[in-house]
């Protein structure tokens, strides 16, 4: 009798140990899995048109993370990939502002909110994180498509969205917390009002810093098929987003710039498969 009980106890402890080990092993990379929201297909007119006949691109449906990558999530990444820690990352991949708001390489510090969007990350770091999570960065067209859908919270007209955006962009620094800004119609949080976000092709803005001309890109600097006309010169909010993207280099780690993950559309499953 005692032998059976003691064997059972030992077996039970084994099972617990296995499950616990398995669980913690899985959580090393998964922990809180990224929740993605489907973004239905749509049509996006790029802000800088390539000639008047440019009617834009059709963006197929895809999945976009409900929230931007947080400090806590990025911390897990750098712990698992020490080459991306602040003191070890080469300057070609991230400039001196990289993760400067953290207390140290692997400590957020009391001043940093773990669940807030991580900022001070370079494009290369964001790409590496996305790859680690089996995902990618959204393209500009994908991001702009998802960010244009705010009818439910802001109102149906482009003007209402414009007013809302200019109001939120007017906040100095990064005071606006994404949790206080409305979610998009598709349930994505923090696209506006929080930090700017990296896109995969941020360097697709083919204009110089001098943006007041007739729209013709400087022929010497660029090999360009036509004028870089603006689709919507009254859309100041879009101007601002594109101006930010146009000023960036891949190693820049701005304090007002974070990122979120995207995936191609896949069978319905809210959570990351990892």
């Amino acid at each position: 009798m005692e032998t059976v009980v003691s064997r059972g106890v030992i077996l039970g402890m084994w099972l617990v140990g296995l499950l616990g080990g398995g669980a913690s092993g899985a959580s090393a990379q998964q922990a809180s899995g990224t929740r993605y929201r489907p973004v239905t297909a749509g049509h996006v007119r790029p802000f800088y048109l390539a000639g008047v006949a440019d009617t834009g691109v059709r963006v197929p449906g895809f999945q976009l993370a409900e929230r931007a990558v947080s400090n806590a999530e990025f911390l897990r990444f750098v712990k698992a990939n020490p080459g991306w820690q602040r003191s070890r990352v080469p300057r070609i991949a991230a400039d001196p502002a990289y993760l400067r708001h953290w207390e140290s390489d692997t400590v957020l510090g009391v001043a940093t909110v773990a669940s807030a969007p991580v900022v001070h990350v370079s494009w290369f770091a964001a790409q590496a994180y996305a790859e680690w999570r089996g995902a990618r960065l959204p393209s500009t067209a994908e991001w702009e498509l998802a960010a244009s859908r705010f009818v439910r919270s802001v109102g149906p007209t482009p003007e209402r969205l414009q007013t809302f955006l200019l109001g939120s962009y007017a906040q100095a620094g990064t005071e606006a917390i994404p949790s206080k800004t409305p979610a998009s119609d598709e349930g994505i949080v923090g696209l506006h009002g929080g930090p700017w976000e990296w896109v995969d092709d941020f360097n697709s803005v083919v204009t110089s810093g001098e943006s007041r001309g007739d729209g013709t890109p400087d022929d010497g600097l660029f090999c360009a098929g036509g004028a870089a006309l603006t689709a919507d010169p009254g859309n100041f909010a879009a101007f601002m987003r594109y101006a930010v993207r146009g000023s960036l280099r891949g190693s820049y780690a701005l304090g007002t710039l974070g990122f979120r993950l995207a995936r191609d559309a896949s069978p319905p499953s809210g959570r990351s498969p990892q």
Binding site: T55, I92, E131, S204, V206, G220, C223, G225, A228
Partner: protein
């Protein structure tokens, strides 16, 4: 031309050294994915820390880090471009001709394509023949993600148009043997004297990778 007499053992040693040195980065590389931080000794500003897999017009696959050890003049173009891309290439050819002979033997000229969809290996080879590019030239293609990565490293902007053509910067970059960008020419027509000067500066024999 008189060739100096070099003992056989010296030649073997040099040959082995020449073969082994480029392999050092791979020996020290930690497998961490495409964003790998490899090799000891590479400057932290070197492009070769963050590059992908490319295929040359002769079918050979290479990591750009294999260019380490030689100065490089690099631009991004696409073969069906009829506007400034041919001018970029001829600018680089002119720079090559303007270099003194010993420098010319050391400098590598690289064209990387924006357009892997249409620039197959065959298309790249045709382009190399058409532009009469000699053995110092590479004409490369890679996946769209690796193309984007290289462009970002170089500060080159580009986007594909509905027609399939590309708008892109006309930047020509000069890399030292460590893979650090030392000079960029932003426009076409370029300041050829400045380009030649910049290339000569990194082609000097004293600039060999140390450590």
């Amino acid at each position: 031309m008189n060739r100096p007499h070099i003992p056989l053992r010296h030649r073997v040693a040099t040959l082995m050294f020449g073969m082994l040195v480029p392999l050092l980065p791979f020996a020290a590389c930690r497998a961490q994915g495409a964003g790998a931080v490899p090799a000891s000794g590479l400057s932290e500003h070197s492009l070769y820390r963050v590059t992908g897999r490319w295929t040359n017009f002769d079918g050979r696959e290479l990591n750009l880090a294999e260019l380490r050890g030689e100065p490089v003049v690099l631009a991004m173009v696409y073969t069906s471009c009829t506007m400034t891309c041919p001018l970029i290439t001829s600018e680089m050819l002119a720079v090559q001709r303007a270099l003194p002979a010993e420098a010319r033997a050391r400098v590598r000229f690289v064209l990387a394509s924006f357009d892997p969809a249409r620039d197959s290996v065959g298309a790249l080879r045709q382009h190399a023949e058409k532009m009469a590019l000699d053995g110092r030239w590479l004409v490369l293609r890679a996946s769209p993600a690796d193309v984007r990565r290289l462009a970002v490293l170089l500060g080159v902007s580009y986007r594909q148009l509905p027609s399939g053509d590309f708008d892109h910067s006309n930047i020509i970059s000069v890399l030292d043997p460590q893979g650090v960008v030392t000079f960029q020419s932003p426009r076409i027509p370029a300041d050829r004297d400045a380009l030649v000067k910049a290339v000569s500066a990194v082609a000097r024999p004293s600039l060999r990778p140390r450590r």
